[in-house]
């Protein structure tokens, strides 16, 4: 009896026609689809994509009965083409999210390594500073300072290499792409760039290298290798910067940061040049040649000219042999053996110094030599010999008279 009543109730309600307007059906579909599309655009994790995949399937099932209506109403799309597009987007997004997750893990690993090396570098920089402050110039201190600098340099190279690999693995595919990025590529790349702390890491590399260049003097080989590393890193940035600019066209702070990094690279380059000049300064200092400090080719030329003039002026008051010693240390030991052989090729290759400038400076060496070179000692020996002969002659003559 109860069952019969329920069936009767069901039949009664099914005869009451509740209809939905087609317009409402289409609007309902469009709203639900829009919501999924919005979520799809914002999704970034594989879990979010998995949930969205279910939502898309549910939407399809819910409206499959209205396919005919939607085919006509979604013009120029159809029900099938709409879902094909949505599912395609879902698939691409899901693949990218998986890749990003894997990359993030890789980046996290690399970032940990980079951080460890950066911490060690900071410690090394502090140790170097402490040793330099101590001003103890014994061989042991000098050796440990050198060893610390070597270690620091090696660490920096390793860290920079790691970061370069990280940048490569993240953005290489876009950095060399000549056409404009699609919006999906822009989104993926932005996620990768932010996830890898790209800006922060690039800034850190530049700052650490600048700090390292301030630690002291370097060999010409060191500087040549540092310049090479700089060029390599800057090249990477130059390739990447236009894509980043495209990526952050709407984000003013990031766009400004691209410019800041560009300026930092310039500073890094200048620092390498300054370190190179400073290293030459140190060579003169170590050899006891008190030349004015210089940090550019013009200053270098002026400092050398000033030193030579000063030495030539001193001829009036000083012993020529001392001045000539200075000349020999300057020209033979420093200029010819060290600077010309080891340093100037690198300087010229990097545009720090021109061959014309070297020739101009060298043109002063001959007058300098002539001014400070003591008179030839042959005349002195000849005079002494004549004197001795005269004395012998007088002695012989006087002894003959006595007999």
């Amino acid at each position: 009896m109860k069952k019969l009543f329920l069936i009767a109730l069901l039949v009664f309600f099914s005869t009451v026609s509740f209809s939905q307007s087609d317009y409402e059906v289409v609007q309902d579909f469009k709203n639900k689809a829009k919501q999924i599309e919005n979520e799809l655009n914002a999704a970034s994790t594989p879990e979010q994509f998995e949930k969205l995949s279910k939502d898309v399937q549910a939407l399809k099932e819910e409206f499959i009965a209205k396919k005919g209506l939607l085919d006509k109403s979604l013009y120029p799309e159809t029900f099938d083409s709409f879902f094909e597009k949505l599912e395609g987007k879902l698939k691409t997004g899901s693949t990218t999210a998986k890749q990003i997750t894997e990359l993030k893990q890789e980046v996290t690993k690399l970032t940990d390594l980079v951080n460890k090396l950066s911490e060690e570098n900071n410690r090394l920089l502090q140790d170097i500073e402490a040793l330099k402050r101590g001003r103890a110039q014994d061989q042991k201190t000098i050796d440990s300072l050198k060893s610390l600098v070597r270690k620091l340099r090696e660490n920096l190279r390793q860290r920079d290499q790691l970061l370069a690999e990280m940048v490569d693995s993240l953005v290489n595919q876009y950095a060399y792409q000549t056409s404009a990025l699609t919006s999906a590529e822009r989104k993926t790349m932005a996620q990768k760039v932010e996830g890898a702390y790209l800006f922060e890491n690039v800034r850190r590399v530049i700052n650490d290298n600048v700090k390292f260049l301030e630690t002291g003097e370097f060999s010409s080989d060191d500087l040549a290798s540092m310049k090479r590393d700089y060029e390599k890193f800057r090249k990477k940035w130059d390739d990447l910067a236009p894509k980043l600019a495209e990526l952050y066209i709407d984000k003013k702070d990031r766009a400004a940061e691209i410019e800041t990094v560009k300026e930092k690279f310039k500073r890094w380059d200048k620092k390498i040049e300054a370190a190179a000049w400073s290293s030459i300064n140190a060579i003169f200092y170590r050899k006891g040649i008190s030349i004015n400090k210089f940090s550019s080719s013009n200053e270098f030329e002026n400092a050398v000219f000033s030193y030579i003039n000063d030495q030539m002026q001193k001829v009036k008051y000083f012993d020529k042999s001392v001045l000539y010693d200075n000349y020999q240390i300057f020209v033979d030991t420093i200029w010819n053996r060290e600077l010309k052989k080891e340093w100037f090729p690198t300087f010229m290759a990097n545009g720090y110094l021109s061959s014309e400038k070297i020739t101009t400076i060298e043109s002063k060496f001959l007058p300098w030599k002539e001014a400070v070179e003591p008179s030839s000692k042959i005349w002195l020996y000849a005079l002494i010999a004549v004197g001795i002969l005269l004395i012998i002659g007088i002695i012989v003559k006087s002894s003959r008279r006595e007999y």
């Binding site: 209809s19 307007s21 087609d22 317009y23 209506l69 006509k72 109403s73």
Partner: protein, 158 residues
């Protein structure tokens, strides 16, 4: 007398031939189907203009609103609903209206062919049209009230 009859026949025949030939010169394309798959819900601007991009339709509905006001209705929500049937007739109504208007297209205008009051002395609160091919379905408050064509409510449906 007989001569006169012949001359009349001779006069009428060429005229008839011209008329028949002129009729042959016009071209008819059929069947034609003007139906919109879905009603459009359009915003009425301050000037009383509504525009639909998909169907390239632009109408001024000021007179329609004025007519409704005379009749005790009032446009609510600023939107009107329009659908076109297979034959090319337009069906227009809106929330707050008392009537459904059936229009036919004329040179540069729509002129009403039929005005229907779906619910006596009541304004419509949730009207909608559904395209059903041979007819237009009219709904109010989620219920199908009747079927329509350009002649009005299809008999036996209300």
């Amino acid at each position: 007398m007989e001569q006169k009859k012949i001359s009349l026949g001779r006069l009428v025949m060429p005229i008839l031939s011209i008329l028949i030939l002129a009729g042959c010169a016009s071209v008819k394309l059929e069947p034609a189907d003007f139906q919109w798959p879905l009603e459009v819900v359009l915003d009425v601007d301050k000037a009383g203009k509504v525009t639909d991009n998909r169907y390239s339709l632009e109408l001024n509905v000021k007179q329609l609103i004025e007519n409704e006001e005379k009749d005790g209705g009032k446009l609510e929500g600023g939107k009107i609903r329009i659908i076109r049937d297979k034959m090319g007739y337009y069906y227009v109504t809106a929330k707050g209206f008392k009537n459904i208007y059936i229009f036919e297209q004329e040179e540069g205008m729509l002129s009403s062919k039929k005005i229907i009051e779906p619910v006596k002395d009541k304004t419509l609160q949730n009207p909608a049209f559904n395209q059903r091919g041979e007819y237009i379905e009219f709904l109010e408050g989620g219920k199908v009230l009747f079927k329509l064509n350009h002649k009005g409510i299809i008999k036996g449906d209300k």
